[in-house]
């Protein structure tokens, strides 16, 4: 794979080709296990194969120790699914990140998502020391310089093969200061990002307002923007995201629709209530995709269904996006 020609593409990945083709692009997410069993990756990847262009492999998501993103990415590729390696600045300094990137590229990874990382206080090692040698914007620039200039952060030349990643980042239109958020995207663009995925959208009006500003600034022409969505599994999950997760906004309508879905199902019918909620969660996702397709500047969707990977196919199918185009 290392010798493949990129043919005018930055990385030559499937994701890049789909984004460039102008087709509405779909990406997914896969959370590695809290153990060392390779079968779990193959199992989850199976739900996503042929359904999405690429799958983010999370990097110690919510600061909980899991199988490494790069190791999991190798297993994901073996299962026939293209990975997007996530890399946070929380756990590695610039040396560790660069060497991991060389390794990730060497084993065939082509997409990279550059993240700050959730604070370790949320995870299962709250007494850990965090790194934050770089921030996500500095990481983006470093990866771009490795790819386009062939240099390490220190300025030394990379010897031989250069890692050519399609560079991604996350953006959160729902965090504060709201007025700053489009500028933060502009900074990531200036640093060299190729595509971004947004935080889960459960406040469409605010996302529309954000996109309007982004389009006014012309940013949608410089970066592919994938709108983040995720199926809600239960009333409790909707409430939890609304009330407890920093950086999220969940409009009441999502909670209310989840409640309404089980209003006529007796409490004893546990399976019926579960199915009704799951169906409603998937239905709302499909409706969101329809809405998002109409918003200027949205290049596709990023579906986050961690620990519920089975939900992705019905969502993509329900939105009329299957089969995926071949590019």
């Amino acid at each position: 794979m290392a010798e493949e020609q990129t043919n005018g593409f930055k990385s030559g990945s499937n994701l890049e080709k789909m984004l460039r083709s102008g087709n509405f692009t779909v990406t997914g997410e896969l959370g590695p296990p809290q153990g060392a069993d390779p079968k779990e990756i193959a199992h989850k990847a199976g739900f996503l194969k042929g359904v999405v262009e690429a799958v983010n492999i999370t990097d110690n998501q919510t600061a909980i120790v899991r199988m490494s993103s790069i190791g999991s990415a190798v297993l994901t590729m073996a299962a026939g699914v293209e990975p997007t390696v996530q890399m946070t600045c929380r756990d590695r300094n610039r040396l560790a990140i660069q060497s991991d990137l060389l390794g990730a590229y060497a084993v065939g990874a082509r997409n990279l998502l550059c993240l700050t990382g959730d604070h370790q206080c949320f995870g299962n090692h709250p007494t850990a020391k965090n790194v934050h040698d770089l921030d996500s914007i500095q990481l983006i620039r470093m990866v771009k310089n490795m790819r386009d200039e062939g240099i390490f952060e220190c300025g030394d030349a990379i010897k031989g093969e250069v890692p050519r990643f399609l560079i991604g980042a996350a953006i959160n239109p729902f965090a504060d200061p709201f007025d700053y958020r489009p500028y933060r995207l502009a900074k990531k663009v200036a640093a060299g990002v190729d595509f971004v995925q947004t935080q889960l959208i459960y406040d469409m009006p605010r996302f529309r307002e954000f996109m309007k500003r982004v389009v006014d600034m012309g940013l949608h022409e410089k970066v592919y923007i994938l709108a983040g969505i995720g199926p809600i599994k239960s009333v409790g999950a909707a409430r939890y995201m609304r009330d407890k997760v920093p950086g999220m906004i969940v409009q009441d309508v999502y909670v209310e629709r989840m409640q309404a879905s089980i209003a006529n199902i007796p409490k004893e019918d546990k399976a019926g209530r579960r199915d009704a909620q799951q169906n409603e969660g998937i239905k709302m996702c499909i409706e969101q995709i329809q809405e998002l397709r109409e918003i200027e500047g949205v290049a596709g969707v990023h579906i986050m269904a961690i620990e519920w990977e089975e939900a992705v196919r019905p969502i993509v199918e329900g939105a009329g996006l299957l089969p995926r185009p071949q590019v």
Partner: protein, 226 residues
């Protein structure tokens, strides 16, 4: 100022082990102002140690002293004569004071009685908030006077992370988000564009990461250049 908090009595007693005679040494500067290790705290802790050790059936003789600054030779040197009569010194100074004692008086162990926590500002009576981490490469000039190294939980240099909401940090609602504060001040001066420039990776070599730091001012030295 340097701010600290007293260790628990249990931890202190554990550190003292089977010492029979202890000198509790306070400091009259920063830790006095933050009520952690001045003359008053030395008195209270000493009484507590006497009482508790008595109750535990292992009485410790505790003497008290407070010097004006435990981090300067000239203030601690006068202690030299009396130290021989103690098993250990329990210092209520910051970590610098504790080390100054150990360096100046190598024949006796000086133990820490407080945890030195931060370089903080007493924002109101009884409340100290961290303001500086002595990173060695001050960026306050480009962050509108608000330190992202000490006050952003992730030491970000290019703006707020995705966890900033309603003005507070994702880590804890009692922590104001440093980058919200920086953004607000940039707005106040109408200089938001100054925050749009991508700041390169910080030179952590000038902070603790470069190893213990040292400043030598030849113009001020009294001894010959080495």
């Amino acid at each position: 100022m340097i701010v600290g908090e007293q260790k628990s009595l249990e931890e202190i007693l554990g550190l003292l082990g089977d010492a029979k005679k202890v000198l509790v040494a306070g400091c009259g500067t920063c830790v006095t102002v933050c009520f952690a290790g001045g003359e008053k705290e030395v008195g209270i802790l000493s009484s507590a140690l006497r009482m508790k050790s008595e109750l535990d059936g292992h009485p410790i003789a505790v003497d008290e002293v407070t010097v004006q600054r435990q981090c300067e030779w000239e203030y601690i040197d006068p202690l030299k004569e009396r130290l021989a009569e103690y098993d250990v010194v329990l210092s209520l100074a910051c970590g610098i004071g504790v080390q100054a004692m150990n360096e100046r008086f190598p024949n006796i162990i000086t133990l820490p009685g407080i945890n030195t926590t931060s370089l903080s500002l007493p924002v109101e009576q009884g409340v100290w908030e961290e303001r500086c981490q002595a990173c060695g490469d001050c960026v306050l000039g480009i962050t509108f006077g608000i330190c992202p190294i000490a006050r952003c939980s992730k030491q970000l240099m290019n703006g707020p992370c995705g966890g900033s909401q309603n003005g507070v940090c994702e880590v804890d609602p009692s922590i104001p988000c440093a980058w919200q504060l920086i953004w607000d001040r940039a707005n106040m001066f109408g200089q938001m564009e100054r925050l749009l420039e991508v700041q390169p990776p910080k030179n952590w070599g000038q902070s603790r990461d470069g190893g213990p730091r040292k400043i030598v001012r030849e113009d001020l030295r009294l001894t010959e250049r080495e």
